[in-house]
Symmetry: C2
Subunit: 257 residues, 2 copies
DNA sequence: AATGAGCGTTGCAAGAGATGCAACGAACCT
DNA sequence: AGGTTCGTTGCATCTCTTGCAACGCTCATT
């Protein structure tokens, strides 16, 4: 819509790949060096871009700060966090909280397992959308038309033999999930990792977020993990209650000192 | 430098404060609604801004992803992480890693203490620059002129009775830190929390990052914490060695599954 | 020491593109 | 229904961006 801004913003993902010098930026943007320079300068002034000692540009610190503030504005996260911690204390496994936003599902909170085996996932990172249990819940809540549209657009990487292979299989899985009100991922992303997930609903009954418990085979079998389902659902319902304003908030214990 | 981009980027910090509607954005930017609309649309296309169900705008998901990728490009973080984890396993306290960038010091990694008492700090969050031990180390390495310039520009909030009160005191502290090659923060930020920090140097000998160990009074006294100084310094030196390429990397054990 | 290549930077003229206006449409409230 | 508020669109104006060419700097080569 706005060419100048469009070009400037195009620099960001480019620098996300790694540092680049003026020439490289100008080339990949398809503009004159002087133009790229001015755009970079503006980005720099806003702290989104940083110029390192070798003169090359990379993403700047303000980006972290912004992402941080954005995160703190997600009130669902605030509400959910103590519940996630409590669940983690009870079962010991890794707990995730995720939301859906414009064709992406991303983790907005995570409590690490209480044993050394860790999952590779990071807050802010997009989720493997075709296999993750939380993603299934979030997408299952869309209208049928939206689900079909999204399912068609996605890629279906075969992380493992259990990964969802194509749109048809995905839509079928979403239908099941929609029906039963919970979801699993049994080795669909990493051979040895299973997840159980439950939805968190807002006042309008729509799925606002989803949470999951993940554990590797070496710690508990898939069947054992499934026995946690009632607990996960209860936790999710408790969060839903607070989030939708039905339950008065009891003790909003923060993770402060 | 570029008015259009400047205005567009000005929207981001504004939205970081909380969701806003078109009118509010236009007003605070001092432009016509239609202009604000076009800028927001462009930001939206790039995923930096999200339009929530009540039509108001807030910061978008791409911001998280960008911040994430930016972080992963910081190779010092990759190198340091296993060392930080090991240190945390040894002493049990919270370990931080921070860098300096254009008048800001920010945490780029953190390993939580192994006991329930937690510090309030987040990766990506700017550090309390006038009191934090890591900040002292990072600023102490600047040239004298730069130090003076920065010291003058800063605010000196009195978090506690021990907080650095003014530029003069800060410069004096920086001189001490520069001299001794390590730094502390004894209750300067939170009454009950002490920190010991050591610098990580690049191949050119300049301070590239700083790491610290923090613990509350209720767990260890300041004196006890200070006994960890040699360990902290050794860890920092080990990281310096790898970062500057002097030490061959032994076992780069990642925090993957 | 001199020459040349490569890269970032600056001033400027031309015109593309951003801007604000006014008018429309939709939703909401009285 | 009538009125208000807010987001959206088309358009004419002219500001602001753009690419060019020239400059200066650093570094490598002869």
């Amino acid at each position: 819509m706005s060419q100048t801004v469009d070009r400037a913003l195009g620099i960001l993902p480019l620098l996300a790949e790694g540092p680049a010098d003026l020439g490289q930026v100008a080339d990949r943007l398809g503009v004159h060096k002087s133009t790229a320079l001015r755009l970079l300068r503006t980005l720099h002034e806003h702290g989104l871009v940083y110029r390192q000692s070798d003169q090359r540009y990379r993403l700047g610190a303000r980006l972290f700060a912004l992402a941080q503030e954005a995160m703190e504005n997600l009130d669902i996260r605030e509400i959910a966090h103590p519940h996630l911690v409590r669940l983690n204390e009870t079962c010991g496994h890794t707990v995730h909280l995720a939301v859906y936003e414009e064709n992406e599902v991303l983790y907005i909170d995570k409590v690490e397992s209480r044993y050394p085996v860790r999952m590779y996932s990071r807050i802010g990172k997009p989720v493997a959308i075709t296999v993750a249990a939380v993603a299934k819940l979030l997408l299952a809540d869309l209208s049928e038309a939206e689900r079909r549209a999204v399912a068609e657009k996605l890629e279906y990487p075969l992380y493992t033999a259990c990964s969802t292979p194509n749109p048809a299989a995905f839509l079928k899985e979403l239908a099941t999930v929609r029906e039963q009100g919970w979801a699993t991922d049994l080795g669909g992303h990493e051979e040895s990792i299973n997840c159980v997930a439950a939805p968190i609903r807002g006042a309008d009954g729509r799925v606002a977020a989803a949470m999951s418990v993940s554990a590797p085979n070496v710690v508990v079998t898939a069947d054992e993990l499934l026995t946690l389902l009632p607990l996960v659902r209860r936790t999710a319902d408790a969060i839903s209650g607070e989030y939708s304003g039905r339950t008065p908030v009891t003790t909003p214990d923060r993770d402060t000192v």
